[in-house]
Amino acid sequence: MLEELLFQIELGLPQIVLGLVNGAFYALLSLGLAVIFGMLNVINFAHGAQFMMGAFVAWMLLNWVGIGYWPALVLSPLIVGAFGVLIEKTMISRLYKLDHLYGLLLTFGLALIIEGIFRNQFGSSGLPYAPPEALGGPPVDLGFMFLPKYRLWVVVAALGMSLATWLVIEKTRLGAYLRAATENAALVQAFGVNVPRMVTLTYAAGVGLAAFAGVLAAPIYSVNPQMGSSLIIVVFAVVVIGGMGSILGSVVTGFGLGLVEGLTKVFYPEASSTVIFVIMAIVLLARPAGLFGRA
């Protein structure tokens, strides 16, 4: 009995670590969605495509300009973020007064177009992108498993970025403006704050977070045009479970669901792609506003 239990733990422990790595991506992506939804009230369905663009821009920087991983980690989110500014200014900003449906359909259509363009240009089977020298090499021995250094870095980077985003929104003056503008935009504008520009930059920041996650993902997953669409549905479930627009909720739920999914992969792998949706259904029934949402 005890032996059986020890065996299960030995089997489970590495999966918990791996679950954290996947959770890191869920957390980063749902964080961007939460920021955008919280401030703009737009459901950004193009998030997966923007994640994919982040990975592709990193690839282009390396192969066309010769710029490596570390600068790309900064440059790619900036470039994709600038693209976000363009989209927000020309299209999304026209939809704030309308029903959610319009924003969702617009961003969904954009996602299809962006993916189509990349597929036409780069094909669908993907491009290689090697991890940076410093994080390559043999995996680290954790005693119960070997973990590639790069995966460790992903968890650290995602946690750091989540913390930074939370600090900016909850603890700085800029964050206070943002939160105030969500409650009452007209009043904040009356105090002399340029609300439309703030909203544009918020969208760009959310998009930048997606691109940052994309660069992080490039060395692990195949860089291909559909890499975002296979993640984004799960990420939406994470956002719904955590509570729409809740920063803390999306980070905690992201990592938490990564863990749950990781464990499912050991005990009943066939269900690993559905377990998150089962949890979503239960949460919606028991706590319709999500675990961290305000009802």
């Binding site: 094909g123 993907g126 995966r151 719904v240």
Partner: protein
């Protein structure tokens, strides 16, 4: 807020339905043009936008056009038109397009059709309408087994031949204990089942398996489970991006560094291209065609490359070329009117003639519709060994045509008279 959430969920549901609607529209093939009795129409039905685009997609269309040109049939006064459509890896979309093509647009031949589920659906439609069907990119052996059809030729490869070539070779070189990472659908199950048979027949054993949902992104968990089983070989019974992600992550976790071997049961040269030689080097895989195999394959590749948009032909593309070329020879033999009147007659004529083309050399088509040619086991070169673009494979082993494929008696095809 609660009201907000409800409308949000409704919207999300609407968005989930939207792709299905869009798919219906995108699937509509172009309207037919008027055509005379001396016109043949070939429909290339494959994945133009998803995971199998690189191994089928526009490359297959280019190869079919090349076959028409090489056949010289236009000089004999026969006009051949090519149409193509995207089946989006959905069996219902595929069979709807096949029906429309045949009923409305006068298509005589359907070629390519990756994805076993779609391949079988189209198989039934073509048989019902008595047209001709050359499957190149589908893997299921059912096409020449339980669901074999007098209208169908299965040209390029199947799960049996992959399992025998790769599985058999791995056991011979000492890989006698296996763990499978399998895509959880018909294709993956069939490939795992067939490989298990060859492993066990050669004295090896299977220590375990794990089934993953189609199009997963993270395989590290499965790879660790495979490692914990202490199997000497990890068999990947999946395809496309699933395989690419598995191999990439196996390299990342240093799985092969400790002596475990990876057997990729289905890989195309385009997958190697996408992985890069650094991650793919040393992998062993089976194909029935490689562009740099001999003078004839190089000549073929030289002719078709320009139309393939930077891609190189894989065995799946070569199969589209060779099957159409052979069909047009049969048409030249029996006449356009007879070939159009009955797909089964055209296929019977193809079976009666020996095949000979630049891609697969000399061969023949068996009575159950199985095309027979040699099968090659390749090893992926290291970056140092590779001398140029797409110089990826070296031949490890050649299985002659009469040993490579499932024996006629084992398929259970009703066309085979015992």
């Amino acid at each position: 807020m609660a009201q907000d959430r409800r409308s949000l969920l409704k919207t999300a549901a609407a968005a989930a339905i939207a792709p299905a609607l869009g798919a219906g529209l995108a699937g509509l093939p172009g309207r037919a043009r008027a055509q005379g009795a001396n016109t043949l129409k070939i429909g290339v039905l494959n994945d133009q936008s998803g995971v199998y685009r690189e191994i089928s997609g526009p490359g297959s269309v280019a190869c079919v056009r090349q076959a028409i040109q090489d056949s010289g049939i236009a000089q004999r006064g026969v006009n051949v038109e090519v149409v193509f459509a995207d089946h989006q890896n959905k069996a219902d979309v595929g069979s709807t397009i096949a029906r429309q093509w045949i009923d409305r647009d006068g298509v005589d031949v359907i070629v390519d059709v990756p994805n076993s589920a779609v391949a079988l659906a189209v198989n039934a439609v073509v048989r019902e309408k008595n047209k001709a069907y050359f499957n190149s990119t589908g893997a299921t052996t059912d096409l020449t087994g339980a669901q074999c059809s007098p209208n169908t030729v299965h040209w390029t490869y199947d799960t049996y031949m992959l399992a025998k070539s790769t599985g058999g070779a791995m056991v011979k070189t000492g890989g006698d204990s296996w763990f499978f990472i399998t895509a959880d659908y018909a294709f993956g199950h069939a490939l795992e089942r067939d490989t298990t048979r060859f492993v066990q027949a050669a004295g090896g054993k299977v220590l375990g398996n794990v089934r993953h949902p189609l199009q997963s992104t993270d395989f590290s968990s499965y790879l660790l489970q495979a490692q914990q089983s202490r199997a000497k070989v990890i068999g990947l019974a999946n395809a496309g991006t699933d395989t690419i992600n598995s191999v990439k992550q196996a390299a990342e976790f240093g799985v092969t560094r400790r002596g475990t071997k990876i057997a990729v049961l289905l890989m195309f040269i385009n997958d190697v291209h996408s992985l890069g030689l650094k991650a793919a080097q040393g992998l062993v895989c089976t194909e029935s065609f490689y562009w740099d195999l001999n003078d004839r394959t190089r000549a073929f590749t030289g002719r078709v490359k320009g139309a393939m948009g930077g891609n190189y032909p894989a065995m799946s593309h070569a199969g589209c070329y060779a099957s159409v070329l052979h069909y047009l020879k049969a048409v030249g033999d029996m006449g356009v009117a007879a070939a159009k009147a009955s797909g089964a007659e055209a296929v019977a004529r193809m079976k009666a003639m020996p095949t000979d083309d630049d891609c697969f050399g000399q061969g023949r088509i068996r009575e159950d519709g199985r095309k027979l040619h040699p099968v090659y086991l390749f090893e992926v070169k290291s970056p140092e060994e590779s001398k140029g673009a797409w110089d990826y494979y070296k031949v490890l082993q050649t299985t002659p045509a009469d040993e490579a494929w499932r024996p006629l008696s084992e398929g259970g095809c009703s066309l085979v008279k015992s």
